[in-house]
Amino acid sequence: MDIFNGLMLGFSTATTFGNFLYCFLGVLLGTAVGVLPGLGPIATISMLLPFTFGLPVDTALIMLAGIFYGSQYGGSTTAILMNLPGEASSVVTTLDGHEMAKQGKAGRALAAAAIGSFFAGTVGTLFIAIAAPLLAGLALTFGPAEYFSLIVLGLITSMVLASGSLLTALGMALFGMMLGMIGTDVNSGAARFTFGTPNLLDGLDFVVVATGVFGLGEVLANLENERSRSAGIAHVSSLFPTREDWKRMAAPILRGTGIGVLLGVLPGAGVLLASFSAYALEKKVSRHSAEFGKGAIEGVAAPEAANNAAAQTCFIPMLTLGLPGTATMALMIGALVVQGVQPGPEILTQQPALFWGLVVSMWLGNLMLLFLNLPLVGVWAKLISVPYHYLFPMICVFVAIGVYSINNSVFDIYMMALFGVLGYFFKKVGAEPAPLILAMILGPMAEEYLRRALLISHGDASVFFTSPLSLGTLIVAALLLLSIISPRFRKVREEGLQEVD
């Protein structure tokens, strides 16, 4: 099917009344939860997951995607108005965005973010429509060795981009792989690490772990500095960028979009890398580079565009290869599996309406965001200012209901409580949980592909180096690891990944 027919099919799927409505609901709810301080996309998606149960598969996926980029945009709003990034990739937005807000230009900063995001979202969607079918075609030629190497690359990228030391990130990834092994071994049928309980035979539910670590763990950590939480929210004035603003942000948006589109496809932490690189690039090339960090509109528009472009294109490896590039995409795969869909190269040919419907709804969702966020910014500002002692019990209720509703299993609730405590522990010792979450879903895939690759080659490990694609992927992974030893890159990484909590 060519792109034009695909897009037509997508339009007819995405614009049915139900799908359109749920896309809107997803974007609205995603933004509403995403603006709440301390709730990033992962916590937002896992909290809102029950809303997609009982919906047809395409509607559910469209709504989930809406929730995802709604929460991304909500996070930027909080970053600008309150200097509180909901997740690592909106850290950059706080630098100049909040500075602009302090100067009374909050409205213009929000508009720059929204316009940049919309433009980048449009380009990102087009890129998916062109690149995804190509990659899916290519993916059909991939053997287990290629898949294994891609997984290794994804894991290494996520470790290199995690804040804190590489060794800690490696430990977290290995621990995540151990968690992924719990349950029945697909190949031999042996029950592994189940501690004799039948509740673990199907494995530890990925969504349960993510909700515990990111939802409940975050609540526990936030309760710590409850007294010192100051709710200083910038006042929102005029939302219209001036002619000067337009002139200054046009080129940065274009460059940010380009960076975001390309980096989003990378396995690992594409979204994060995109916003940091876009900011760094603008700081280098801008004529106003002295203003960076003091409220330069380029410093808001470029990373926001990159962020959103990457948020769109990171769907490509998830949908076409079945390999999640980021922890959020890993959660999306978890949600799709709950719906009975296994993402992979066949999704385009077997469920074209699902794929193209999603692509078109992404663009519609971005359009909705533009028209939803700017007029409703007063409402979002009100939501942000809800005191935390009202908010966190409700968060607890939503995550508990969300987790229970996946399997109607009380055991999952206890597991979530356990992983909430673990998430708090990881925060305390300064270990970022993103590699753990990604490794938990990539670990079992890695095992399966390793087994298949070695079965075909009769135990000869050189198979990973004889296929050019696999070799190339492993070389990129090795270069990434080496680059961290280089002092110059190390410095950039430390600056870029400074956690703002």
Binding site: G171, M181, A190, I401, A417
Partner: protein, 149 residues
């Protein structure tokens, strides 16, 4: 010696790795060409032990950040409230379980006051949740459980 963040994390990795390895060696290992269910777990848990030991060694050789103070009240109360929700949802039903979780977790906050406004708020919120999740979304959870019917 101060107990640093790193030494605790390293110990956590190493101990988890040891337990996992001890369990994993009981599964058939197989060969590289025919990996048994124990093959991958043994490799990963061994790597986890090595990583843990490296983290501990690093913590001894460098002066890292000390382990920060923990908010024991929140750490105990909030997960406990979630466990109570789990215990309550089947025998008591959706509405009482949500109410219990709401009140118990809210009690963790230093700003918690038990007055009529908060009580009405909790009741209204639990009611709204019940309508939303059970009636509108249609989650198959009884509003009142077996004990209350």
């Amino acid at each position: 010696m101060k107990i640093g963040q790193d030494s605790i994390l390293g110990l956590f990795f190493a101990v988890t790795g040891c337990v996992a390895l001890w369990i994993a060696i009981q599964y058939p290992f197989g060969t590289a060409g025919r990996m048994g269910p124990g093959y991958f777990p043994v490799i990963i848990s061994s790597l986890l032990i090595v990583t843990g030991i490296c983290v501990v060694i690093r913590s001894i050789s460098t002066s890292g950040d000390a382990f920060p103070a923990i908010n024991l009240k929140a750490l105990f109360m909030v997960p406990a409230a979630v466990v109570v929700f789990g215990l309550a949802i089947e025998p008591l039903g959706f509405l009482p379980a949500v109410l219990l979780l709401l009140v118990l977790s809210a009690a963790t906050s230093v700003k918690f006051r038990f007055d009529w406004k908060a009580s009405v708020g909790a009741l209204v919120f639990s009611g709204l949740c019940t309508v939303l999740f059970v009636k509108l979304i249609g989650l198959p959870i009884p509003v009142l459980g077996t004990w209350l019917q």
